[in-house]
């Protein structure tokens, strides 16, 4: 059929719907292409945000106001923000790699895309774009055998008091309860996974000079009633330091878990820290080391010098 007749049919229906559709659809498509073509990743992400917002507008036109709001809040407002967080975090705001894809590959990909559009269009244009497919129950339409009719959401919306929200909620909490609960479980799992994946393993606070302890306890005396423990009891290092005399007399008086231990931020392995501390500090330094890992690692340098001085 000629493009003119398509246009003629396409413009059947209320004028405002047509205008708004053209605007939103155009923005969506343009933003999509822009996102793909942009070299700057941040700009691309912003393009995607525009696309999502225009999609929200399209949802409004499709009489599902609930979903349009959900789209804005969740998709554009949370997911894309997350994207931007990561982009900023990794500091890769400029993508120079776009140029390295070979022109042949790019050309083929474009051809594939056009092919997909053509294929889908061939399937859609005709049955779905005729005047019978207009979702206006009042308009006079001609129904033929190979066209799809559009029922529209008016009937459903008339029944619901709260509109689109009630329509979705009714099904969600009655018929689709199990998937709903399952998706809740999915979200929990995803959260846990993200937390696990986002752990930092490699950087040892002992090696990170910028790390500052979040909690610092005051210095206690060197007698170290709580100063003994893991450092002295189980290592053979530091045999002849004068500061160790007291500690060596009482090798196993205190177990490390007697002392209140504070886990520094990002560390969840107190024992490992103890071992590292043992390696780092052959010399028993007194009460500071005894009370726990907290002050010692951070003061490794200080404690070591102090120990040696002592």
């Amino acid at each position: 059929m000629t493009s003119l007749s398509v246009l003629a049919q396409a413009t059947t229906g209320s004028t405002s719907e047509v205008v708004l559709f053209v605007v939103f659809a155009g923005i969506a498509i343009g933003a999509g292409i822009g996102m793909v073509a942009m070299r700057n990743i941040v700009h691309g992400a912003l393009m995607l945000v525009i696309n999502l917002l225009s999609l929200a507008g399209l949802y409004l036109l499709l009489q599902s106001s609930f979903l349009s709001i959900v789209q804005i809040i969740v998709y554009a407002g949370a997911i894309m923000v997350l994207f931007l967080f990561v982009i900023m975090l990794l500091g890769i705001d400029r993508d120079d790699l776009l140029v390295e894809v070979s022109p042949v590959g790019r050309g083929l990909a474009v051809v594939a895309g056009l092919g997909v559009v053509a294929m889908l269009g061939w399937g859609l244009i005709g049955p779905y774009t005729s005047s019978a497919s207009v979702c206006d129950p009042d308009a006079a339409v001609v129904h033929t055998s190979d066209t799809q009719t559009c029922a529209g959401m008016d009937a459903l919306l008339d029944q619901a008091e709260s509109g689109s929200v009630e329509i979705v909620a009714t099904d969600l909490f009655t018929r689709w309860t199990f998937p709903f609960e399952a998706s809740a479980l999915l979200l929990i799992v995803a959260t846990l996974g993200a937390m696990l994946l986002g752990r930092r393993h490699d950087t040892d606070p002992d090696d990170d000079p910028a790390w500052e302890p979040s909690m610092r306890l005051p210095d206690t005396d060197d007698t170290g009633s709580t100063g003994d423990g893991p450092v002295d009891g189980d290592t053979t290092e530091g045999p002849a330091e004068p500061g160790d005399e007291v500690d060596e007399v009482e090798p196993d008086t205190e177990a490390p878990d007697d002392a209140p231990e504070m886990t520094p931020l990002g560390h969840d392995d107190a024992e490992r820290d103890d071992a590292e501390r043992d390696d780092a500090e052959p010399v028993a330094v007194g009460g500071d080391t005894g009370v726990g890992a907290n002050p010692a690692p951070g003061d490794a340098g200080d404690d070591a010098t102090r120990g040696r001085d002592a």
Binding site: A10, E17, F21, A28, I29, G32, V36, A45, L48, N51, L55, L58, Y59, L61, L62, S64, L67, V70, Q71, V74, Y75, L82, F83, V86, L90, I92, D95, L97, E100, V101, A112, L114, V116, V117, L120, G121, L124, P127, Y128, T129, S131, S133, V134, Q148, C150, A151, G152, M153, L156, T170, D171, L172, P179, S183, L186, L187, A190, A194, L197, G198
Partner: protein, 99 residues
Amino acid sequence: MPIGAYYLVAAIMFATGLVGILVRRNLIVLFMCVELMLNAVNLTLVAASRMWGGADGQVFVFFVIVVAAAEVVVGLALIVNIFFRRGSLDVDAQHLLEH
């Protein structure tokens, strides 16, 4: 508007995302193109929901959004890990998938 128009828009968006996947080499951009394709499907579903006059499509879209959110969270965490391990986000980097 005939309902097919919405379908066509969705098709164009989907194709755009597809081209983006095939062309771009940056992992994050790849991810965003996948999101674009998901949204195209969402649009199709909502339009279909209107066409049939039922709520099923919209419920489906609801779940798609939930799953997409979860997927993005985990995926971005993975991307961060990949970046810190390799130093680059080039998906065509040598032996990316072979290790």
